[in-house]
């Protein structure tokens, strides 16, 4: 279990070590719609670009206007501070505009050998989506081949698919243990598992996951579960907040599930193999539980959330919305109505690295108080 935390704490050192050890190339990516399989097929290590909590983002203010979410600004700020100096390439599979802007500014100010923009469709319910995204992946593969001076064969793709698929499968298995009355892992641990999966070599990560799967049935959790919470959110890798809620309040609470991309959304759906590998990969990403920016005209995300609520016996939800995150802000009024109908209490937190933790503490505590008998 501790390796996930260590990886999460020391992701930059890990990537530098990995380069030294393997002599391979590292590619930083924005947003989890990027097909990591193709990178593993090409023996490139994909690492997700994150920001850094509590670290000043002022350095990005000449480049990104401050009405964009703190996450996108923090990602760029960390880059400008030189924290990602080990990257050989950067790429994005487009989702929201804020992270796109971080990508373009990165490309402009932090030149690397290779940079690529994938036009991942937003119309993930439209008819032509599979064909179009497949085409994008064909071009992406070709461009990687050109960069690396090698071909990526079907066998390579199979290898890449296998690594990523196994990783996601294992995490789904582990998530089963969160359904227990006393969940075998905490929300903080779960967050560290997914976070580290996005910044380490998945082969190594897979070994740690397998080890954990064997340990979990006998794992004793020495804590009161309290209120079973769900996080429904924008990008959220805020371990400090998760820890504060699970460990720092006068009422007990545990995060048992989440719907966001540093959580279950990253690995939820299964891969369907096919002769045309890239078509299968395209399908995998297009069919996954959608990010709000892509969830239209039908709201497919809500029924997914409902399933999670039921399967994980969720008692209350925290809506973690990155400040200025428009796609989420557009889901929230309808989501509130939906949760009201399900009779699930919720509390909305407009999340910003700049909101004092003490304020959030009072709010979450007061929210938990509404759920229990205080006397």
């Amino acid at each position: 279990m501790s390796s996930f935390k260590n990886w999460s704490d020391n992701r930059h050192d890990y990537a530098r070590e990995w380069k030294k050890k393997t002599g391979g190339k590292v590619l930083g990516y924005f947003c989890t719609y990027l097909p990591e399989e193709i990178l593993y097929a090409a023996d490139v290590l994909p690492v997700r670009i994150f920001g850094q909590h509590g670290s000043d983002i002022g350095i990005s203010s000449a480049h990104i206007y401050d009405m964009y979410c703190p996450f996108s600004r923090s990602c760029l700020a960390e880059g400008l501070k030189g924290k990602y100096d080990y990257l050989d390439g950067v790429a994005i599979a487009q989702s929201c505009m804020h992270i796109r802007q971080a990508f373009w500014s990165w490309q402009k100010h932090l030149p690397v050998e290779y940079s690529y923009y994938i036009y991942m469709p937003h119309g993930v319910q439209s008819k032509g989506r599979y064909e179009y995204y497949r085409g994008e992946l064909v071009e992406f593969k070709e461009s990687l081949e050109k960069w690396l001076g090698r071909t990526i064969s079907d066998a390579d793709l199979d290898k890449g698919i296998d690594i990523v698929r196994k990783n996601k499968e294992s995490m789904r298995k582990i998530w089963e243990f969160r359904k227990n009355d006393r969940p075998s892992i905490t929300g903080l641990e779960a967050m560290e598992i997914v976070f580290s999966s996005q910044v380490t070599d998945k082969r190594e990560h897979n070994e740690a996951l397998e080890q954990l799967i064997t340990e979990l049935p006998d794992r004793k959790v020495d804590r009161e579960t309290g209120t079973r919470l769900m996080i429904i959110g924008s990008e959220d890798d805020d371990r400090e907040f998760t820890k504060m809620v699970e460990e720092g309040l006068s009422l007990p609470a545990t995060f048992v599930i989440e719907d966001h991309c540093v959580g279950s959304r990253y690995f939820w759906n299964d891969f369907t193999p096919g002769e045309d590998r890239l078509a299968s990969i395209a399908r995998w990403y297009l069919d996954r539980p959608p990010c709000p920016s892509k969830d239209w005209p039908k709201r497919l995300r809500f029924s997914h959330i409902k399933n999670l609520i039921q399967e994980y016996k969720v008692e209350a939800a925290i809506l973690m919305q990155q400040k200025f995150c428009d796609p989420h802000e557009l889901d929230i009024p309808a989501l509130k109505t939906y949760l009201d109908e399900l009779d699930i209490p919720y509390y909305l937190i407009e999340f910003d690295v700049l909101v004092p933790a003490g304020q959030l503490k009072t709010r979450v505590e007061a929210f938990l108080e509404t759920r229990v008998e205080l006397v």
Binding site: S250, P345, E350, D352, L354, V355, G358, Q359, T362, R363, E365, A366, F367, E369, T370, L374, V375
Partner: protein, 295 residues
């Protein structure tokens, strides 16, 4: 207690119920509410208000709690801290009150306190504190169902009003009345930011506005800000206002006008001690429970 001459100061005061003998009570409970501006210590005997103090918060919670409680005990016929069976702390300083056995958020305490002060028909509570504005919905028992709080920016809070009082040399308690001494309600000031609001007020004065008119514009801006928050949660009758700003009629009346609903009033209790009352009521219940379970 020494009274400071600053215009920004609320009155500091204490009170003891006449004709009550605490020695006859079976439970003496206490709630201490440490807010960002003021601290209240409330002592209840068998669920009835017995004594309280209201004073400015010092720069440290344990000290403020100590001072407020000592002052509340000052004229209580020998009641001492040792006679109090249970103390609940609340407010932003709640985690740092050594003598309290339990901490409960000010949101829960204000709801329960409002329920006690205004009766069980209260459903929506507005609490305007020094730096927070809270809107709370509760049930007939005073249990919180839902709430909202302002974040990140203290515009529209009590602290802003203090700064204005200082700037205009108008005692806080007179602001409300004065703000109505205008011929016509002016446009609200555009910035309720505590710092910029101050310079906006200055520039209005320089333009020749009267102090009353500036106050009216500021009170209106504050009321607008607060009403925006209330409307996000929705108002259900009855509607009550607690906290320091409940005494500022300049803001209260404007809120009522904008919402087109009148807040319930009472002469019987001081709405500024709602949080402390709630905490003391929780303390009483918690003590009873511990007694039952033999703990």
């Amino acid at each position: 207690m020494a009274q400071s001459k600053d215009f920004r100061d609320w009155d500091q005061y204490r009170w003891t119920a006449p004709d009550t003998d605490w020695r006859k009570a079976s439970i003496v409970s206490c709630g201490i509410d440490i807010g960002s501006i003021s601290t209240q210590a409330v002592i209840m005997v068998d669920g009835q208000l017995y004594a309280y103090s209201n004073m400015r918060t010092g720069s440290n919670s344990p000290d403020s709690a100590d001072k407020a409680l000592s002052w509340a005990l000052e004229d209580t016929d020998g009641l001492s801290q040792d006679d109090i069976q249970y103390i609940v702390g609340t407010g932003y300083g709640r985690i740092n009150i050594p003598m309290a056995q339990r901490a409960i958020t000010e949101i829960a305490c204000h709801a329960l306190g409002a329920n006690f002060i205004y009766g069980p028909s209260v459903r929506t509570i507005l609490d305007v504190g020094g730096q927070d504005v809270k809107v709370i919905q509760c049930d007939e028992k005073g249990k919180v169902i839902n709430f909202l709080m302002n974040d990140k920016c203290a515009a529209g809070t009590g602290r802003g009003m203090e700064v204005m009082a200082d700037l205009l040399s108008v005692p806080l308690v007179e602001i409300g009345q004065k703000s109505f001494e205008v011929d016509e309600e002016p446009e609200p000031v555009s910035s309720t930011c505590v710092v910029f609001g101050k310079s906006e007020a200055l520039s209005l004065l320089r333009k020749g506005w009267s102090i009353e008119k500036v106050l009216a514009a500021y009170c209106r801006a504050m009321a607008n800000r607060i009403v925006e928050l209330i409307e996000r949660l929705g108002v259900q009758r009855e509607f009550a206002i607690t906290g320091g700003q409940s005494k500022n009629i300049g803001v209260v009346k404007r809120i009522e006008m904008l919402l087109n609903i009148e807040a319930v009033k009472t002469e019987k209790y001081d709405p500024q001690i709602a949080g402390g009352i709630g905490a003391a009521l929780f303390a009483r219940a918690l003590f009873e429970k511990s007694r039952k379970s033999g703990g």
